[in-house]
Symmetry: C2
């Protein structure tokens, strides 16, 4: 007899699992139950509909060949039945049935299953802020939300907007609304944007660039209430740090796994509040699988389970679940939390642990910040990027990376992610055979340069000090010399203001080093960190003992 | 006493080794001997000077901070002596000396060494074609060549040009000259462009695109002679397939290692005619190291030594040589022949073995061709790319890849290269945590999709036939049905012309399959290969036994 495969959730993981099930089992009865009207859509595309980059919302659920992925499509092309506007209410694990309700009619329906897949996604957190019933306060978790935001932006009545939450969704919508000329303020509770993905100094680089584009950023701040007018329209957002006039607000403070159905059925739930699954994406009931935004994932560096609701993982999960159901046993190994985002000409990529997270996990961390062009610097249009590597002093392994800048970030992040599955070390990275041509990369890729710096730090050759440490020294007015080894022309452009500053261009250092007191602590800097590194070596040769250079040079100086 | 490190060759590997030596040994006497006038230049940038993308030739030897990397720069910033316009003539290994000649004065000079580095590069092959003394016949191996080509192109006297050799340099110069409106013909002896990097069908995709841009391509052809006028100017190129009028010709038929100095000194030479080095880049004389374009490299898939003169490898070599000289033992593991090139809006990337080369190495090869957008297909500006993976049937390992198209190729090639160091399999690739956002990638990256197809082929689920095999069947007028499962609208746009063609859209196949004779051989196709794969599975379920689908669909059809 043919098997019955029932899938609750029709967005990403669910339809992917269904399609793969069909390919592996031509006779099975495959059913998708989805509470919404739209199925199989690219939710990550919603900010680009708001921005106008994507012209039609329905292109998010259209195939490359131009077919709409609706009920009929699934039935005719894939022989998969879709029950839309149908909400699953209860799993009867004993009888292997799911009770559901047709939302339009209120009719109860029942689906029996041999195997059940929970692909029920996540819920955006909506904090109980007074006034959040006012018009033009949005979340972004469904195409209807995207349509609402776009319609408000198109109305030209929105002069100012507040984005509550400086995470991925908040920043993508910031980019979208900026295109309408709307004045935007981002309010973030933590001390920086993308606090889970970026260490402070990398986030500051991003924040500086966004500020230049006119975005107001209010960190370590909290929204207290929304204010409206007599028509029920939003007029302002009250925060701990003051009132911000705004006709539109987006609440994007996080997403949590949709666990209710599973929890009520007695399935195990993890510490992250997600449906617990093993490496085969099987729940605590062997006949029920779960994937996508309702589960958490094993982080391959920290060894902890983490909640990373991302569309690409949901699709991979879907396929693996189908494989396991059909006897093609396959493990999902886990994740590095790899991701990328574009916000107003800044690309931000991240993988593995931040320095902060690695420290919390007990790693003896060694870091590198290396700024540079993303292609041959003489090639026009080269984009500058700042690469931070987080390494483990004990093993030389690269356990995390963050890259921020105008240039090609996603290429480097993917390469690191691919390498990290096999314990990529700085030594491995330094000798990699990569695709070089001037329009695509510098002769030594940014990652190879960063790996070389890490090798130098691991072996004690390069002695660096971070921007944060230098800033603290400056604020303390410590007794040290700041030595700039750039050319006078460069110094005239910008320099770090400090009383005990010296400028000796690297080319003169071998003859002029005597001008500097050998016994004082010296912090050297240049543009990116190369000349200051050479200066450190020269001064050491001349008998200086307390010499360090500013990692990443003045170009990475975030203050 | 301080060590004497002598470096012959001042372009890429040599200066890199010298700079690293200085950082590791502050007291050493470091000397570079270079026959030309320019040192430490980015030779790979020359085509982009010709094209006008790079405005000044000297930016190829200018640092990011704007300093010219000349003799003074090396002396002042790095305490490295450079003898330019000085040709090394003889190595006296017994006395550890190199005899050289100052080219301007004819003066003989002698340099003693503790360690010698040969970074003498490669020589462009110049076949003895009659007439090759005529004006405006160029090679491209030195900035002077680039200046000569640009000056000719700028003169507006060049209406037509012949590029002899369809390798990397030939194609990059094709792109550059096309910008001047010059009519270009590429003459290549092999049956395709980039014959070492691309299999036939991938090369044909490239050739089709170049032909659309007005480039004439003459493959399996050979230049016989050059014709000139009374002024000694080139007027035409005679080939086996006819005469091509041309006022400019570029000879770019390959590069060979510059081995003469080493060979005369009795150093071992490899089968490739390169200076033989071990994994530490040490020659058969323990005090002499060599790197860059004068050595060959271990290919990590074939296990053979191959000649791959590339700028990024030269730089990596330089650093490793310096490390080994200074007692920081480091191996150069080898290469995959990874590279990328842009030619007239086509990006071409390659790594590992081609299908052809893998077959020659005895692999039981499984291949995948997967066409698709390089980012979410709904995202504007998505570029189409064709990904070919070459796998090993026995281990499931990915042993090579070629990607061609308008979209982001270098990202994917680098990721594969990074993974291949650890024996990347299709199974590994299929579950990778990659950076996804609509402006950068599809939710399932092209590589993951290609890996999924390879898994399906390895397990026998997907039964494919290549474009080449279908073409042969068509030419033989074999007894088979060509079944197009696209929509009528798509069929109207383009289809493969064949008498026994049927069109049943996938959505109708489950009810209309009876129209097709079950006992005939059936080749299914669609746009990219997904629907035809599903059609294969449907027909098999209905009892069809002889069903295959066209790999990569009609979009990858090169004929």
């Amino acid at each position: 007899m043919s098997k019955k495969y029932l899938i609750v959730g029709g967005v990403a993981c669910g339809p992917k699992a269904a399609a793969r099930l069909r390919r592996l089992d031509s006779e099975a009865e495959i059913t998708i139950v989805e509470k919404g009207e739209i199925v199989s859509y690219g939710g990550c595309g919603m900010p680009y509909f708001i921005s106008g980059d994507v012209k039609e919302l329905k292109s998010l659920w259209t195939t490359t060949a131009g077919s709409i992925r609706d009920k009929d499509f699934f039935l005719n092309e894939k022989n998969i039945r879709v029950f839309d506007k149908t909400r699953a209410e209860m799993i009867n694990r004993i009888e292997k049935k799911v009770e559901a309700i047709r939302l339009e009619t209120g009719e109860k329906v029942e689906f029996s299953y041999d195997k059940l897949i929970l692909a029920v996604g996540g819920n955006p957190a909506i904090p109980p802020i007074p006034g959040n019933h006012l018009k033009n306060i949005f979340k972004l978790s469904h195409p209807d939300d995207a349509a609402g935001i776009k319609s408000a932006a198109d109305s030209k009545e929105i002069k100012s907007a507040v984005i509550i939450g400086g995470g991925l969704i908040g920043l993508e919508v910031t980019e979208a609304l900026e295109k309408y000329g709307i004045k935007i303020t981002i309010v973030e509770m933590q001390d920086r944007l993308l606090p889970k993905m970026l260490d402070k100094e990398m986030s500051v680089l991003l924040m500086k660039n966004l500020a230049k584009k006119g975005i107001s950023i209010s960190v370590s701040n909290k929204v207290l209430s929304f204010e409206g007018n007599a028509d029920g329209n939003l007029t302002a957002v009250n925060t701990e740090q003051g009132t911000i006039p705004a006709e539109l607000a987006l609440i994007a403070v996080g997403v949590s796994p949709n666990k209710q159905l599973a929890e009520e059925a007695g399935l195990e739930i993890t510490e992250n509040g997600a449906i617990k699954v093993n490496e085969y994406l099987q729940t605590s009931d062997a006949d029920i699988f779960a994937g996508g935004d309702c589960v958490d994932n094993l982080h391959l560096i920290s060894g902890k389970r983490v909640y990373t609701p991302l569309g690409d993982l949901a699709n991979i999960h879907g396929r693996i679940i189908a494989n396991n159901i059909c006897g093609k046993q396959e493990e999902f190994p886990g994740i590095f939390g790899t991701g990328v985002i574009r916000v107003l000409n800044n690309n931000v990529g991240f993988t593995g642990l931040t320095e902060e997270a690695a420290g919390n996990c007990g790693y003896d961390v060694v870091t590198v910040i290396s700024p540079g062009s993303d292609r041959a610097h003489f090639y026009p249009g080269a984009g500058f990027i700042y690469t931070k590597l987080v390494g483990d002093q004990k093993t030389g392994r690269i356990i995390g990376a963050q890259i921020v800048g105008r240039g090609d970030v996603s290429k480097r992040i993917n390469m690191l992610s691919a390498g990290m599955y096999n314990g990529l070390t700085a030594d491995n990275l330094a000798v990699m055979d990569l695709a070089y041509a001037p329009p695509f990369a510098p002769a030594l890729d940014n990652l190879i340069t960063a790996a070389n710096i890490m090798q130098n730090k691991l072996t004690g050759l390069a002695k660096t000090i971070t921007a944060k440490e230098v800033k603290e020294k400056l604020d303390r007015k410590g007794n040290f010399i700041l030595l700039d080894v750039r050319t006078p022309k460069e110094v005239a452009r910008n320099s770090i203001s400090y009383e005990k500053s010296e400028n000796i261009p690297l080319a003169n250092l071998r003859k002029d080093y005597g001008k500097i007191n050998k016994n004082t602590e010296i912090v050297i800097y240049c543009a990116v960190g190369l000349r200051s590194y050479e200066a450190q070596l020269i001064l050491e040769e001349k008998g200086f003992k307390k010499v360090k250079f500013l990692e990443g040079g003045i170009l990475s100086w975030p203050y």
